[in-house]
Symmetry: C2
Subunit: 308 residues, 2 copies
């Protein structure tokens, strides 16, 4: 029987760097991934905040290959592989599994709305059966504010019943703590990740697996600290500190704001680039954000120092 440890801890939907012609910069991404690993941060590459859905399947496959060639630990990777079309999800998922990725984070198909649990069950089922690999570990991706296609408790129950060794966890980005709590309580061996660090302490107290959070791109070490020390007396204070930075970032469009911060602390302005339909921060937003971070003495030690 193939054994595969469930993933846990803190993961970042790693922001994706683009070159002048808007093609992804795999080497810069690999460097960033190594830095994140040095911060005890797992790699949910191709997440929402990675602009994953602005990348083609081919681009994502090439990026995965560059990361593996660049020595990034596949077991710490949970690439996003969900897609609207089953062949796309199958293609990318199979490639991720073949590279030894620790898991995949799988969006439901997100174009059609008002879907039934039966339809979503069939969709995940087709992907699982077509990939047909005992090593596949799926973390479902519940993010109704963006996908508009929720993953219900009923759907999880059906998937767990049919594919208990394959469907092993979920990222809950629904923003409703009661739902996260229900997922943890209803499915004891299911790895439930909070959608961001503001619910990390509660998630750990309830028996969850950690968090997968946009802001882990810039604040992973601090978030990991709470993940490890959630039983410590000062845990609530740490949670408050994390919430402070998160709240600051949420005043801006998240993806361009994250990239602005990475650009600032790497000294590499190329990081500012986003693919349409997103746009970079305005000059005013940029100044305000960097000033607010400076006022908090925020820094990203070791970022962009090379050789990582």
């Amino acid at each position: 029987m193939f054994e595969h440890k469930k993933m846990s801890g803190v993961l970042a939907p790693v922001v994706t760097p683009f070159k002048h012609d808007l093609t992804p910069d795999g080497l810069a991404l690999a460097k960033q991934c190594h830095w994140l690993l040095s911060q005890n941060c797992g790699l949910a590459v191709f997440g929402t905040n990675s602009e994953a859905n602005s990348l083609s399947v081919e681009e994502k496959i090439q990026l995965l290959d560059v990361l593996i060639d660049g020595g990034v630990d596949a077991s710490r990777m949970m690439p996003g592989t969900g897609a609207c079309a089953i062949p796309d999800a199958v293609c990318l998922t199979a490639h991720a599994v073949s590279l030894g990725c620790g898991g995949v984070l799988m969006l439901p198909p997100f174009y059609y709305k008002g879907l039934s649990d039966e339809g979503l069950f069939r969709s995940y089922s087709e992907v699982i059966q077509r990939v047909g690999d005992v090593r596949l570990r799926i973390y479902l991706y519940h993010i109704p504010p963006v996908s508009q296609v929720p993953i219900t408790l009923n759907l999880i129950e059906r998937l767990l019943k049919e594919y208990p060794d394959t469907v092993v966890g979920i990222k809950d980005s629904g923003g409703d703590w009661e739902n996260t709590k229900s997922m943890i309580e209803c499915f004891p061996d299911f790895a439930v990740f909070a959608g961001n660090e503001t619910a990390l302490l509660k998630t750990m107290e309830a028996g969850g697996a950690g968090c997968i959070s946009a802001t882990a791109n810039i604040n992973a070490a601090e978030i990991y600290d709470l993940y490890v020390n959630w039983r410590a007396p000062e845990a609530q204070d740490r949670q408050q500190a994390l919430n402070g930075l998160r709240g600051l970032m949420e005043k801006y469009p998240m993806i361009p704001a994250l990239k602005q911060v990475v650009a600032h602390f790497t000294g590499d302005e190329a990081w500012v680039r986003v693919r349409p339909p997103l746009i970079e921060l305005s000059e005013q937003q940029r100044e305000d954000l960097l000033a607010a971070l400076a006022a908090r003495n925020f820094s990203m030690p070791g970022l962009g120092q090379g050789g990582v």
Copy 2:
């Protein structure tokens, strides 16, 4: 200067047939397209009701090739080519243009929400510039109930100013007549298609181009009749009759219902198949739908008779 007549009339987002293994059946699709053309119906293949977003770019390219090889008139085709990722939209759009398609129907990128007009402008702009073909004719696709990404009057204005020969029309599936009317009034040479035939008479009276409607898959000749004879005294009665059938179909999930009707009148049960995340009609729905159609003496003359 390249001249290209604007498309008009009645078009169907042609339903896509699948084989046992859920791969698209190009030959069956070609046959259906020929039948629709015989009903004076243009071909908005790869629309929402074609399950286009459940198909990979490669599958859509192959289907286009099969249609052209099968003698389908490219000038009557307006394939849907919008995608979340710019490279996908560019690839499929360039292929459609190279085949001589009369136009393309282009969704905005639809994963990220709360987008700015600037971001959407850049997105369309990148696709237009990368395709870089003077023959390209884009019909924008406004369908906020599904895409959740509206195309505003402001965005249209910017695109028309920058690409007056390329951005030539829109399908308005927003369900808000005032918006359709505004589009027609604000942009005189812009080809505005109603999102379905219930607004066809009003659209023609206001100066619109026609309609692109799911139900044209099964009722094209009647819809075309109103399109041609909208100035006739009985136009309002024709509109009411069209609304009756549309209303009947809207009691069911549209895509599986359309496919059920096509299956019934072709005698080919393969048409019933849908790709997940959609599901076919229940037995009860199927019976109710077919009984309701029979009560109206509904038929699809010549469908599936071969040789068309």
